[in-house]
Amino acid sequence: MTSEHSLIPVIAPISGVFYRKPAPEQPAYVEVGQSVKKGQTLCLLETMKVFTKLKAPMDGEVAEIIPEDGSTIGKRETLFRLKI
């Protein structure tokens, strides 16, 4: 069993619109349960017409994806939890 403490939150460095996919018709960058490598893109944030790719801070497994695709998120909001 995983304890609360081994879940690493990935927070938004900037406020913006949260996108799980690179384009509407394409598959999501990551799904829950998928393992990811450090530096792998987790999502796209759109702020003032500028797109930022948010990368995984370390190797792990996606335990939780918190915001809905296309929703507006605030700076420092938790977007993902990674199991390491």
Binding site: I14, S15, V17, M48, K49, V50, T72
Partner: protein, 454 residues
């Protein structure tokens, strides 16, 4: 046609700019706003305001049918698109005109020509205006591109015909790069602009970006309102513009004006527009593109000519003609514009939205600040980062620069990170002061900066 009510299909500082001109002309100004813009100042300042849709621009400021339907419903007789959003959308202009609304801007044909870079290049060349040496037709295969490239000689730029504003450009140092890039450039152009057509142009070394303001009546008459130098750019985004251009001889200046005028007349250009040129180190100039809209940087031209360009747009659209003759256009003094963007220059210009807690707008002699900011304004995440345009006028360039420096120091938009400190650094930079700067200026400055930081 006499206009009485104009719907402004835009937001922010340009919506305000247009409202001001409409009020001075005695017309009713109708504003639209998205859910995210209820507290935007253009909503308060217009005579009438209507919510148009959700925060995302695609559901509000870009919703063509909603905007046209609203204009009909509120009995507006014209639409001003501002810049950005639908300003250069020929389909929108046609839709307006089909619905019996005056589109305050170029004709749909003017816009289609401006949007098709290769067609614009060929049209302009026929008018006797120099274009950057390059291909005179669409390049369909790599073999064809290679042959054209050998004739023009490297280094070259591979461009998308439907691109523009610096998007989709690849620099080719030699044939191997062309071989590598051709297929992916075509695929990218198809994905980004819906058209895979490519063409080649000679790479101009260390050019300056010089553009000429024009006003046309759509029947073949046009005037020019001198030039602007917009070479202070970062990633093809202009940061500082000035009029007139420093470091340009009078004879070249006159030839550029004449070239722009022959384009405007030759294509029967209607309303306000800009003809952009690249000028190389030997003062050779080449047509680059036509911008079929009122531009962000139009105030510097207004300051040195005394012509209100938005008023002129309204005059042309209402069938009253340009309202100014060429003979009346002369330069008085010098004007500089700094774009105050919500971007952090210390963090690679990352956007910086948020709430404006502390705000002070600069003023005094020679200062104009076109902005939609006010204390307590919440800068939304949904739209571009332009917060305001700080314009300084002086009898000489040196005085305009001093005024700009003082005004930049006065300006306060806390705690938002803005381009203000970076712009202050630019206007105090030796190369900028000398006026000899080219399009590589900002990049070089940032490189020196990061080298010094290490």
């Amino acid at each position: 046609m006499n206009l009485s009510k104009v719907l402004i299909a835009n937001r922010g500082e340009i919506a305000l700019r247009i409202i001001r001109s409409l009020k001075e002309t005695g017309l009713c100004a109708a504003a639209i706003y998205s859910e995210a813009d209820q507290s935007c100042v253009h909503v308060q300042m217009a005579d009438e305001s209507y919510e148009i849709g959700a925060a995302a621009a695609s559901k509000s400021y870009l919703s063509m049918t909603r905007i046209v339907d609203l204009a009909k419903k509120i009995k507006a007789d014209a639409i001003h698109p501002g810049y950005g959003f639908l300003a250069e959308n020929a389909e929108f202009a046609s839709l307006c005109e089909g619905a019996g609304l005056v589109f305050i801007g170029p004709t749909p044909d003017n816009m289609r020509l401006a949007g098709d870079k290769l067609a614009a290049r060929m049209t302009v060349e026929k008018l006797g205006v120099p274009v950057v040496p390059g291909s005179d037709h669409a390049l369909l295969t790599l073999e064809e591109a290679k042959e054209v490239a050998r004739q023009i000689t490297y280094p070259l730029m591979l461009k998308a015909s439907a691109g523009g504003g610096g998007r989709g450009i690849r620099v080719l140092s030699d044939e191997s790069v062309l071989e590598e890039e051709f297929a992916s450039a075509a695929a990218e152009a198809r994905a980004a602009f819906g058209d895979p057509t490519l063409y080649l142009e000679k790479l101009i070394q260390r050019p300056r970006h010089i553009e000429v303001q024009i006003l046309g009546d759509g029947q073949g008459d046009a005037i020019h309102l001198l030039e602007r130098n917009c070479s202070v750019q970062r990633r093809h985004q202009k940061l500082i513009e000035e009029a007139p251009s420093p470091a340009l001889s009078d004879s070249v200046r006159k030839r550029i004006h004449a070239a722009a005028l022959s384009v405007a007349k030759g294509i029967h250009y209607r309303n306000a527009g800009t003809i952009e040129f690249l000028v190389d180190e030997n003062d050779n100039f080449y047509f680059m593109e036509l911008n079929a809209r009122i531009q962000v940087e139009h105030p510097v031209t207004e300051m040195i000519t005394g012509v209100d360009l938005v008023n002129a747009q309204i005059s042309i659209a209402s069938g009253q003609g340009i309202g100014v003759i060429q003979h009346e256009i002369s330069q008085w003094g010098h004007a500089i514009e700094c774009r105050i963007n919500a971007e952090d220059p210390d963090m690679e210009f990352v956007p910086s939205p948020g709430k404006v807690e502390d705000y002070w707008a600069p003023g005094g002699f020679g200062v104009r600040f076109d902005t939609h900011l006010y204390p307590g304004y919440e800068i939304p995440i949904y739209y571009d980062s332009l917060l305001g345009k700080l314009i300084a006028w002086g009898r000489t360039r040196e005085r305009a620069l001093r005024t700009m420096g003082r005004a930049l120091q006065e300006l306060s938009i806390e705690p938002i990170k803005t381009t203000r400190p970076f712009l202050y650094e630019v206007i105090r930079h030796k190369e900028f002061i000398e006026g000899t700067y080219g399009l590589d200026f900002v990049e070089k400055m940032l490189e020196t900066r990061s080298a010094e930081a290490e």
